[in-house]
Symmetry: D2
Subunit: 370 residues, 4 copies
């Protein structure tokens, strides 16, 4: 291995980078689950140099060799030199994709994964070209929460989330697409599962990774305005609503920002309070306008249903209203298959089979627009 | 078999009758696919006496023994004495369900299936009690068109339709429900697949079987007002829209009733002409009002998507508008899984596996309201 | 339909006939389950003229249009004119396969199905050419017993048997093969399930249909020597042994032919009595010699295991002994997948899914010899 | 984490150890794939302390939390402190199983995995009690070769092998069984895939881990006689033969031990040379005697067929001969489902779905002996 040389990530020209990029590119932070790097190399050995930090929620990473998952592991704070393969046939080109499993962590300011470069004894060769670009925006479902872990596990921990077992990744792979994920467990389009109105995706969507705060993240550029022109998706999948509907069954919560109580209400007959439902609809309409502003040509598909579809008519009413207001026709609604007793993963979230079914339905749907 | 005795259908007290009933009950016409009779009997042998007529579209029937499909056959015009089983253990109770496979035929005025009675050498015993009552209203999908036949078959014939391979029947069985089917291939909520505005389900829904016309049918009472109070469903599944969206891609058609041309139009960019889309929406709203008028307590679920979901936002906008207008909250939208290349049956209609998947999703959805 | 003409079966030159043929070919008896006729015709309408008889065990038949099962029904004694299709596009060639569902009946001397001819208004055109020829020899499994019917059904009746839901038919279809079935429920290679040594397949195998006796059958030629040269299989699948092993757990039985008691015995530890096991092995060796005599070039595969595999070592020991004795190398053993709680059909026999799994494994196995 | 305490593996009394044990138990070497430790602990954090070494073939390990696979990774030479979980609910008992993925390596004398102990802040509580004990003896299939990796991967490397995706592990889990694996890729019961007669499992079976040689391994006790009385299996699954049949299609090879050429031959017609076939049979008979010597009460099942079943009659003839010679009845033959184009993993070995199918069939088979 004396012949291994180190190449800084910024010097690798033949590379696919998945996930949003900020100002810092060398070394390269991986902000979201699914954020990662893909290279094709010759040579017998390949290592990746990574720096990580975290407090409570340690990052997990995974890598695939020629499209097959080989390893998935926890990374505790520090510098990591990870061997991705060794002793392989030097002439054969090997495709490696290394990516973050853990979502952007709004609850751990220290959490970060930074790729510094590769050690190898071969050459970088041309990487696959992806014709499609898909952006996935979501909540815990898109963060792969519960995609790992036993059905009876209920702790809320980093290890249960993934990009490796995730309808977003599966869909992108099947459609041969480059993809971005922007998601956060517990958040909604209007409010979080617990009525916390601060936990809405639109409020952080325009920053590089507005979910990751604190001095360490800020230094990585997470709170900078995101340069949407740098990566224009063909398709935007919004998978939000699951936490917004949950909020209607939760107690009021105090918002420390304005010291007021917030609560989405139900009528005595169990139906949604119309005023509160309209708050969700306004948030949807407003978010669609934000998305359209930044991605003028994208086909926007609101996908919903992997954990129940009680918000179907609320979401579609908002989309219809948005279409009427704006004349924008490139917005659709698509219901995803529900998770059942046979397809649950950990703590009542979609398991691998549920993600697989959702990806299959979504791929089938998206292909008709080719 | 000398010991067999004949019992008129009107004299059978222990019986489940599936499908709408008109004034004529002895003998008993089976108007729709899925319309049928279910009895539980002792004795070694059982026969059913049936009279049928037809011109071009001959009726097909099927029967199940203890829940398992045993036979499916064509019935040409005449009197039929059909042996349902023979030489069985006389003591064991046997459950037999005999039903019509072919939809109500709007295109064959002579087509009819009339049950006259049974020949048996045992006793009628108590039939199953079904807690749920579900009404399915639909088009060719609910008529099971293409559920039989080879993928490459394209003739439009009676033999390809069924209740035996049909998401409606499968759903009712899985939920242990009594059920009605009211469906017609090619028809929509506003117009038929070919822009024929006469082919809309609401226009015939209030008659016993408004789809079956002509003197022969009229004599059976098909055009009488249906007595909705006689059978109040808990759940109404409306699976319409597939032909309404098809009409937007078809040429204009002359309506002989008013000698005018009719055509649902698309905009130059391919989107739906808003005026024409609103015709569909008005028809949906109006039909929902009709359904609610006759079934004040039913949970109405508009199901759609087995042959594409392009009309999602049109249907949901109409439902939302209906809810706003009426305050009626017991109306929902549920998207069914799409048919794929692996699940097509004959002439590009859902095959058995597609019906199975739709039933599975629908059962899972309906169970949450238990 | 005035334009329909009748063509005697003996005058149809473009035809595939499945199943063994005896001296009588016009009209044409269908002796075994799977025995049938296949034609390709133009014209709008097609009828088949059939004569049947039976006492206790009435024959069932089925037919497929372009490879898809359309109908399955009971035929009581008499002349039957069965419409196979009507009103189809006259120009399009239609492939129809009409076949017997019920096994050859050793227990009903009157049981018979005789095809007399077709009525049609089109032309007979070329039929498919099958490259492979496969003979299936078996017991109730190959007779499709329990392939129809509810899991809890236990009567032993004709209606539960089939060729339509049968690993033999599925295998032949998947391999694009002509095929013969020779099978009988309850019979073995040495003795029947109940120790009746008269119920062994080899004793009747050399007659056209030695299972069907009595004057009526004799007149059809069932007891004539079968002309093996008339149809030489490439592959012979022997699926016997399930009843032979059952006999080891049954009480002794009196054989009326010699007035002796017969019983396959187990040792006190539950293992097979070696003398009795050797009787089975001798029967296997002797049967393999008989098969080889009549089919000098066929690949003989003893398949076993769909209802347990307790006889694996007995069967393979016999095959090895046969190979040593004869030097014949074209004999193999292949274990079929077992039926499980999820794949049972009626009265503890393989259901549709079990037959499908067996066919899949067998097709995969046979393809490696191509 | 200051409160974590270290407990030597030898001091852990409440533990399940999978896989063969030699004289060295503290620290504890994991010799085979599937060899591992299982504990149930309270506390929020758990670490395992492991020492590994290797040259070309680095060990891989995996661990499961409450039965769900959480991580799989490569371990390069050195001391490893691996966090198995952190920040979990301290009161909830957590079941952790940590095991070796890589088979015993006959080709890397330095390769080893040694467990030193755990760091934890909770208590060890009672571990599951397994009623069954199953020993799996095999080749690359049982080593899980190709169970990871892309279908087109052809390098022969440690990373492609596993216990995590392996019919042996799946079978043991499903049957709630303790289990041992003894396997080696490329080896047979008589000779290796390339005719190397030194590569036969029986020659090393009686040593603790006769596959692992060299001073480093010897120091761990791999070449000591194994104490069979220390762990008596109820069931022994022998899955050998796949390499023995391959040898019949390979060129001769020089055996450096005696400087002679060795080759299993075929006859001109492609059948196996009888003398050479008898060498395999003798090896089987001899190995069965060795197994019976050490495990007098075990049910021995020779399982074969996941990569073709060409040796069926050779194996069964040997088993029958063994049974005749010894009178031993507790030896059976069971054919496993073949791997198909849809179920291959890397370099033409069984993939996950093939292992799953094999486990399902084997579990179904073994359950009937309960």
């Amino acid at each position: 291995m004396n012949d291994l040389r180190f190449v800084e990530i910024g010097d690798v020209k033949k590379i696919n980078i998945f996930g949003r990029l900020g100002k810092m590119k060398n070394p390269l932070p991986l902000f979201f689950n699914g954020s990662g790097v893909e290279i094709v190399v010759t040579g017998s050995d390949l290592w990746i140099e990574v720096e990580t930090d975290s407090d409570f929620h340690e990052p997990w990473v995974a890598y695939e060799l020629n499209g097959a998952l080989m390893s998935r592991q926890m990374l505790l704070p520090g510098e990591h030199s990870i061997c991705l393969f060794r002793n392989m046939n030097p002439e054969t080109p090997k495709t490696i994709r290394f990516y973050r499993e853990l979502q952007a962590m709004s609850e751990d300011d220290k959490c970060k994964v930074i790729v510094k470069g590769f050690k190898l004894n071969g050459e970088f060769i041309d990487v696959p070209v992806y014709k499609r670009k898909i952006e996935f925006i979501g909540d815990s479902i898109t963060s792969g929460e519960g995609s790992y872990g036993c059905v009876s596990d209920v702790d809320w921990l980093a290890m249960y989330m993934s990009a490796s077992v995730n309808y977003a990744t599966m869909t992108a792979k099947e459609l041969n697409a480059d993809f971005h994920i922007f998601s956060q467990g517990g958040w909604g389009v209007y409010c979080g599962w617990d009525n916390d109105i601060r936990h809405n995706i639109p409020s952080v969507y325009e920053k590089v990774c507005g979910l990751a705060t604190g001095p360490s993240n800020e230094a990585l550029g997470t709170l900078d305005d995101y340069d949407f022109e740098s990566w224009q998706p063909d398709t935007i999948i919004v998978n939000l609503g699951t936490n917004d509907i949950t909020a209607f069954s939760q107690p009021p919560i105090l918002n420390p920002d304005d010291n007021k109580m917030y609560c989405q209400r139900r009528n005595p007959d169990g139906s949604l309070n119309r005023d509160d439902e309209m708050k969700v609809e306004k948030a949807i309409i407003s978010f669609l306008k934000m998305l359209r502003l930044h991605s003028p040509d994208a086909h926007i598909v609101w996908c919903y249903g992997m954990l129940g579809c009680d918000l179907n008519l609320t979401i579609t009413e908002a989309i219809s209203e948005y279409r009427k207001e704006t004349g924008d026709k490139k917005v659709d609604f698509f219901q995803l298959p529900n998770t059942t007793m046979e397809t649950f993963g950990a703590h009542m979230h979609p398991g691998k089979e549920s993600h697989r079914q959702a990806a299959k339905a979504l791929v089938n749907y998206l292909k008709q627009f080719d």
